[in-house]
Amino acid sequence: MPETVVGSTHASTVKAREIGFGDAVREAIAEEMRRDPTVVLMGEDVAEAGTTFKVLKGLVEEFGTERIIDTPISEPGFTGIGVGAAMTGMRPIIDIMFGDFMCLIMDQVVNQAAKIHYMSGGKWKCPLVIRATMGATRRSAAQHSQSLHAWPSHIPGLKVVIPSTPADAKGLMKTAIRDDNPVVFFEDKISYTTVKGPVPDEDYAIPFGVADIKRAGTDITLVGTSSMVQVALGAAAMLEEIGVNAEVVDPRTTWPLDEKTLVESAKKTSRCLVIDEGYFRYGVTGEMASVIAEGAFYDLDGPVRRLGAKHVPIPFSPPLEDATVPTERDVFELARQMCNR
C-alpha cells in the first residue's frame, strides 16, 4: 500500500486540496476502512445521520450498517464493546459525541483499555480509537462544552491526539487507527464549521509525538493546542505589527509529547507562553510549561506563562462564554507584556 509518513510542514510542500476539518477526519476513516476490513465505527447516530455534526455523512452508504454502527445511548456499553473487540482482532473506532461524555467511559478507557496490555505482561493488545469532541463557544453550556483532554493525557497506556488543522487531523487519525494502543482523538467541534485547510492528495500518516512548528519566529514561543493554534497564529500576526516575531508550536499529541521541539523552541526565543482550551488549573498547560521550564530554564528571560479556559464551568450566555476561552487579544496582550513591549 503506498504511504508517505510525513512530519511537520508537509502540507505546504505537496499537492493539496482545500477541505474542512471534519471532511479530513472522514477521509482518514474512509481510507483506513477501505484498507483494513477490521476497522468499524460505532456510536450514537453515526450511520444515516452521519453523527450529530454530520461529519461522517456518506460513510454508511459506502460501508453499510455492519461497519458504521448506530448504538443505543450507552457510552460505557459500546466503549466496552470497543475494548473487547479491539482485543480480539478488530480496530474499532468509538464515537463519543461530546467530550463531556468521557466522564461516563473512564472506567472502560482507563481501567480497562489503557491497562490490559501492561497487566497482561504484554500479551493482549487494544488497538482502539476513541473519537471525542472538545471545545466551547457553541453556546452549548456546561455539559456540552468541556475540553477534557488533560484527563486521558494523565493516564499511562493511552495516547492522546489534539489536532488543529485538517491535514493534521487526517494524518493523525490514520496513525491512530493503525496504532496498536488505545488512542483518544479529540476534535474541536467548532472546527467543523470554521476550519478549512490544505490536505495532501497522497496517502500519508503523521507520526505521534512530533510537534509541528506552525509559524517560525525568534522572539517568543507560543505553544498552542487544538483551536488555540489558530488563536496563537492570530496573535502572532498582531505581534508582528508591533515588531515581535512569534514562533507558534503545535504539539499535536499531548502524549507522546515532543518535549524536544518545545524545549528547543523556548531556548531559541527565550520566552514561552502555553495556550490551551481546557480548564486552566491542573490542565495540560501545567505539564507542558513544567517540561519547558525544566528543559530551558537557563535560557529563559522569564517564567513560562500559561493561558487556559477560565477555571469555571462553561456558561451558556454568549458574553459569559466568550469570556472563558483565551482570545487572540488575550494572547497578544500577555505575549506583548512578556516581551516588554
Partner: protein
C-alpha cells in the same frame, strides 16, 4: 380558573373541572411557549439550540397536576414543558433561553439547564439519564427527612440506554423511595428509532426490579393525570417508587435545527400524530363536548396566554446580558 363546571363524567372520574381546565391552559402555554422558541431560533435571536416539547405536553402537564408545589422534578434536554408545568414563569424562562441576566440561572444555564428551587425544579439536564441519580437522591432525602415530598424523574426512552438508570431503579425499589420514573417514549433517540436501540419491552425493565410499572397514553392528559395521581399518592404513603411509560410523540425535530427528517421517520407518521393524536386538541374537544368549558372560555385562555407569552418574549429580548465579569461568580457556594 374561574369557570365552575357542572358535574360531569370528568368529575365522576375524580378530576375537578378546575384541574381539567388548568391542564388545558398549561398544555396550551407550553405549546405557545415552544412556538415562540422556534420563532426566536429562526430569527437567529436565540443562541445555541433548543429541543422542543411540542406534541408531548400532556405528559408534563398530567404528571405535574398530580404533584404538590413542594414536590420535586428533574428534567431533560427537552425540558421547557416540565419546567412550565411545574409552575415556572415564562418571562424568566425566555430570559434564560436568551442568555440574559434576568433568566432563571442568570444566563449561565440556558435551555438545557433551567432550574428553580421555588417550583421544586432540580434542573434540566443535558446528560441523557443524568438526572436519574439526582431524582433518586431527592427522594432519599424526602424519605430521610420525612417531608412527604415525591420526586418525578422525567426522561426520554433513550435514557434506557444508560446503565445508571438501572442502578437507581434498583436502589429506589430496595429502599422504597418516593420517586416516579416518567419515561417519555416518543419513539426516537435523536435520529434513531427506539426499536433499534431497545431489546425487549420497556416496561419489563422496571418490572424486573419488582417496581410498579404502567403504560399510559401520553396524549391523553386525563389518563396521564390519573396514573400519575395513583402512583404519586402511593409513593407519598411510603409504598415506594413507580415507573410510567408514557407513549407520546415529538412533532418537531430533535432540536430546532432538525428540519429534514424523512431519512429517519416518515411524514405520514408525523401527520398521524399531529392530525389524530394532538393532546391539546383532544383535550379541548373533550372539554367542550363534556360541557366543562365552552369555546369562549377556551378562546379567552388562548388570548390570555398569547398576550402573556408575547410579553414574556418582549421582556426577555429587551433584558440585558450579564456583565462578562459575572463569569467568575457562582462557581462555589
Amino acid at each position: 380558573m374561574s369557570t365552575v363546571a357542572k358535574p360531569s363524567k370528568a368529575s365522576a372520574a375524580g378530576i375537578s373541572a378546575d384541574a381539567l381546565i388548568r391542564m388545558y391552559r398549561q398544555m396550551l402555554a407550553i405549546r405557545l411557549f415552544e412556538e415562540r422558541v422556534n420563532d426566536l431560533y429562526t430569527r437567529a435571536l436565540m443562541p445555541g439550540l433548543a429541543h422542543l416539547y411540542i406534541g408531548e405536553e400532556a405528559v408534563a402537564v398530567g404528571i405535574c397536576e398530580a404533584l404538590r408545589d413542594d414536590d420535586y422534578i428533574t428534567s431533560t434536554h427537552r425540558g421547557h414543558g416540565h419546567c412550565l408545568a411545574k409552575g415556572a414563569d415564562p418571562k424568566l424562562m425566555f430570559a434564560e433561553l436568551l442568555g440574559k441576566e434576568a433568566g432563571y440561572c442568570k444566563g449561565k444555564g440556558g435551555s438545557m439547564h433551567i432550574a428553580d428551587p421555588a417550583t421544586g425544579n432540580l434542573g434540566a439536564n443535558a446528560i441523557v439519564g443524568g438526572s436519574a441519580g439526582i431524582a433518586t437522591g431527592a427522594a432519599f432525602a424526602s424519605k430521610y427527612l420525612k417531608t412527604g415530598q415525591v420526586t418525578v424523574c422525567f426522561f426520554g426512552e433513550g435514557a434506557l440506554g444508560q446503565g445508571v438508570l438501572y442502578e437507581e431503579m434498583n436502589l429506589a425499589q430496595l429502599w422504597t423511595l418516593p420517586v416516579i420514573y416518567a419515561c417519555e417514549n416518543n419513539m426516537y433517540n435523536e435520529y434513531t428509532h427506539f426499536s433499534e436501540t431497545t431489546a425487549g419491552d420497556i416496561i419489563a425493565r422496571p418490572a424486573a426490579f419488582g417496581m410498579a410499572a404502567e403504560i399510559v397514553d401520553g396524549q391523553d392528559v386525563r389518563a396521564v393525570y390519573a396514573a400519575a395521581s395513583k402512583y404519586v399518592e402511593r409513593a407519598r404513603r411510603g409504598e415506594g417508587p413507580a415507573f410510567l411509560q408514557l407513549d407520546t410523540y415529538r412533532y418537531r425535530g430533535h432540536h430546532v435545527g432538525d428540519i429534514a427528517r424523512e431519512y429517519y421517520r416518515p411524514k405520514t407518521e408525523e401527520q398521524h400524530w399531529v392530525g389524530q393524536r394532538d393532546p391539546v386538541k383532544l383535550h379541548s374537544e373533550w372539554l367542550t363536548s363534556e360541557g366543562i368549558a365552552d369555546k369562549s372560555t377556551l378562546d379567552r385562555i388562548t388570548a390570555e396566554l398569547t398576550a402573556d407569552m408575547d410579553a414574556a418574549v418582549e421582556f426577555a429580548t429587551s433584558a440585558p446580558y450579564p456583565d462578562p465579569s459575572k463569569v467568575d461568580d457562582d462557581v462555589y457556594a
